[in-house]
């Protein structure tokens, strides 16, 4: 005899035959179960090597036709052990690791870390104003270069080739500026605990103003390429919806949060580096979709340009002031001016430490080989990176090396929203949704 198994009816054998006891079910749940028949679903693996997953993000999709029913995000393919490595470097060297996390926003990584260290050291107010202004200017430039990548690749992934090239043209302009100031295009390790590694080259503010002018003009072109384009609107409007409740639940910050209507910007809410002295607006949108995020990023570019202009004005006023904290116990001893041979420190500096002061030499030696000591304790400092709240949580046991450094990386938090933004949409919408989050896997995996 065949046995039937029925979830709603159990049966038992008695002497008079089989007796069924029907338990019954909730009709609504039954209906929804029927509605969610899983028969025609396929599982597709997207990434970690896929042209549209922003690096090495892996997405495991469950599709019903073209509709996405489930998204799992797989991360860790770029895990580099940066936080662990930092524990084995001194406080200053850690900057070179931190800068390589979110490789689109190196200055922000550095600043967040340095602000935290400065807090621990208690020198937050001793950082020279010129250094702060330079930091602000660099951060805003970096915000532009980062947004350019977000917009360009986002457009490319939705099939528009043109914007990509226009965006990278502008990004190159910014990177050239970085190179002129720091010597490197990316991963500069320019911001150091106590200030910045070196002053601006002469006449830089003039150039910066030129750059701002050029960029402002170029941004108009870029906007024209996409805003108002019917296909672009169709691909972005109402896609990847995530409302404010979702954002706050998942701890999402940055343009994604602002696209849901909350004007949350750390530069306004918890000003650092003297942001309270700049005039700029927080950009929000209320569509909570990909298009809103796109608009927010576009509009933030202009605000960044405004800040850069103000910073350039301030820099002109602060010409000649130091860019590193005065405390010689912390400040890197060198002036990092080039020597006559084009390498190394300036002759005056060498002459000073080698010739005039034995103490200087010892101090130099200790500082370079061992680094400065930081009082025991912990500090948390956050900055508003292009992707949201980027923060460093620094723990010191009083030694020359961090006991623990943890970064609160916005990409990591924001990436949690992938499944909320994609489930229920179409396959192609995932691309738009992920692009609108603009995750940087280097930051996610660290």
């Amino acid at each position: 005899m065949t046995t039937y198994s029925d979830p709603y009816a159990s049966s038992r054998e008695t002497t008079e035959g089989t007796v069924f006891s029907v338990t019954g079910g909730d009709w609504d749940s039954l209906v929804s179960e029927i509605g969610e028949s899983k028969e025609e679903r396929i599982i597709v693996n997207m990434g970690p090597q896929h042209p549209s997953t922003h690096g090495v993000l892996r997405l495991v999709l469950e599709l019903e036709g073209e509709t996405v029913t489930e998204v799992r995000t797989g991360i860790g393919y770029l895990h580099t052990g940066i936080e662990k490595n930092i524990e084995f470097r001194n406080w200053t060297q850690a900057v070179t690791f931190a800068t390589r996390m979110d490789y689109l926003a190196p200055i922000f990584n550095e600043t967040a870390y340095c602000l935290a260290v400065e807090k621990l050291l208690g020198i937050t107010n001793d950082v020279p104003e010129r250094a702060s202004v330079i930091r602000v200017m660099m951060m805003e430039l970096n915000r532009i270069s980062s947004h350019m990548v977000a917009l360009g690749t986002g457009a490319l992934e939705l099939g528009a080739m043109g914007p990509m090239f226009f965006a990278f043209r502008d990004r190159e302009i910014v990177l050239d500026t970085f190179e002129e100031i720091t010597g490197l295009r990316m991963n500069m390790a320019y911001v150091r605990p106590g200030g910045v590694s070196q002053d601006l080259p002469a006449g830089m503010t003039v150039k910066i103003r030129d750059v701002v002018k050029t960029l402002r003009k170029n941004f108009e072109d870029n906007a024209k390429l996409l805003i108002g384009n019917t296909i672009w609107m169709k691909r972005t409007e109402g896609i990847g919806y995530l409302d404010l409740a979702g954002c706050t639940t998942l701890g999402i910050t940055g343009p994604v949060l602002r696209s849901a209507g909350l004007p949350w910007d750390l530069r306004k809410m918890q000003p650092y580096c003297g942001y309270e002295n700049y005039e700029f607006e927080v950009i929000t949108a209320d569509t909570a979709d990909v298009y809103g995020r796109f608009l927010v990023r576009m509009a933030e570019l202009e605000q960044s340009l405004r800040i850069i202009e103000q910073a350039a004005d301030k820099l002109d006023k602060l010409e000649g002031q130091p860019v590193m904290v005065a405390d010689k116990k912390i400040a890197w001893p060198a002036q990092l001016a080039l020597g006559a041979d084009g390498l190394g420190n300036s002759l005056e500096h060498i002459r000073e430490i080698m010739g005039t002061s034995m103490e200087s030499l010892i101090h130099h030696f200790k500082l370079v080989t061992e680094g400065f000591r930081v009082p025991a304790g912990q500090a948390y400092a956050a900055v508003e990176s292009p992707r949201g709240e980027l923060a460093a949580h620094v723990v010191s046991d009083g030694g020359t090396r961090p006991y623990r450094v943890h970064f609160r990386e916005p990409s990591f938090n924001n990436l949690q929203s992938t499944s909320a933004m994609s489930e229920g949409g179409m396959v192609a919408d995932i691309i738009g949704a992920v692009a609108s989050i603009d995750p940087v896997m280097g930051g996610v995996d660290r």
């Binding site: 860790g76 409302d243 409740a245 933004m421």
Partner: protein
């Protein structure tokens, strides 16, 4: 009176065996897609036959309708329904196959011999006269005068069939599928926020990345919800135990 030119004869003796072979092949191959391809080939040869027989329009329409639409539909359905399943060719109904083959031989033989014996009372005329104003024009003349009624009937049949197919194949959902927007809103208002950030992804670190391998939990056991419920239901799931690191020491000791 019709005389058949040599080129047509050559074409016929070349293509006719090919089409018969293809038809036989369609009967015998295991994969349905191959059957479909062979049938498409038969249809194309028939189209060529039509064209050779002064039915130019019909030949082209044969390709458009049969090869282009009907067979494409078949391929579509084949891809939807069990893509790479090969059919078993063993017979399940006892005695059917010998009956079928005998019957077929008898049927074919009878047909052929009937055709051989058939007499028309006149020679083949050929279509030169009927096609004098053009094959398309001739057909149109007939279609829109003598056969206008069947034409209309057939067209309404076609519309009915299309509608019917849509109704049949339409997958009525018991509850409308929630849009992304609705899902995203409901997600953060549900009873639990446990899965608000999505489910974990499968794969064992640096050892196996496939979607059917459950991830490992810190204690080395497989994480049940790391692979899709659909795969689980279908039973397409590998045992991740083989990727476990047996020697992982799970004991925690105080660091000095």
């Amino acid at each position: 009176m019709l005389t058949i030119q040599t080129p047509e004869a050559v074409m016929f003796w070349f293509l006719a065996p090919l089409s018969v072979i293809a038809a036989l092949g369609m009967l015998l191959v295991k994969k349905a897609v191959h059957s479909a391809l062979l049938l498409a080939w038969v249809m194309i040869t028939l189209a060529i036959f039509y064209i050779a027989q002064d039915a130019l329009f019909l030949g082209i329409v044969q390709i458009v309708v049969y090869t282009g639409a009907v067979m494409m539909l078949f391929l579509f359905i084949l891809m939807l329904v069990g893509v790479d399943a090969s059919d078993s060719l063993t017979e399940t109904i006892p005695g059917l196959r010998p009956i079928a083959i005998t019957a077929a031989l008898g049927f074919g033989g009878l047909l052929v011999s009937l055709i051989g014996r058939a007499k028309l009372g006149h020679d083949a005329y050929g279509l030169t006269a009927a096609n004098s104003e053009g094959n398309v024009q001739g057909l149109a003349q007939l279609l829109f005068s003598t056969y206008v009624w069947p034409f209309e009937v057939v067209s309404s049949l076609l519309i009915t069939a299309a509608l019917g197919a849509m109704v049949l194949a339409h997958h009525q959902r018991a509850v409308p599928r929630a849009t992304q927007r609705e899902q995203a809103i409901a997600r953060f208002r549900g009873a639990s926020l446990g899965s608000a950030a999505g489910l974990p992804n499968p794969g064992v670190f640096a050892r196996h990345n496939a979607v059917d391998v459950p991830a490992l939990l810190p204690d080395g056991s497989a994480a049940p919800n790391s692979i899709s419920a659909t795969l689980k239901a279908r039973g397409d799931m590998l045992d991740s135990a083989q990727f476990e690191l047996g020697e992982v020491d799970n004991t925690v000791t105080e660091e000095k």
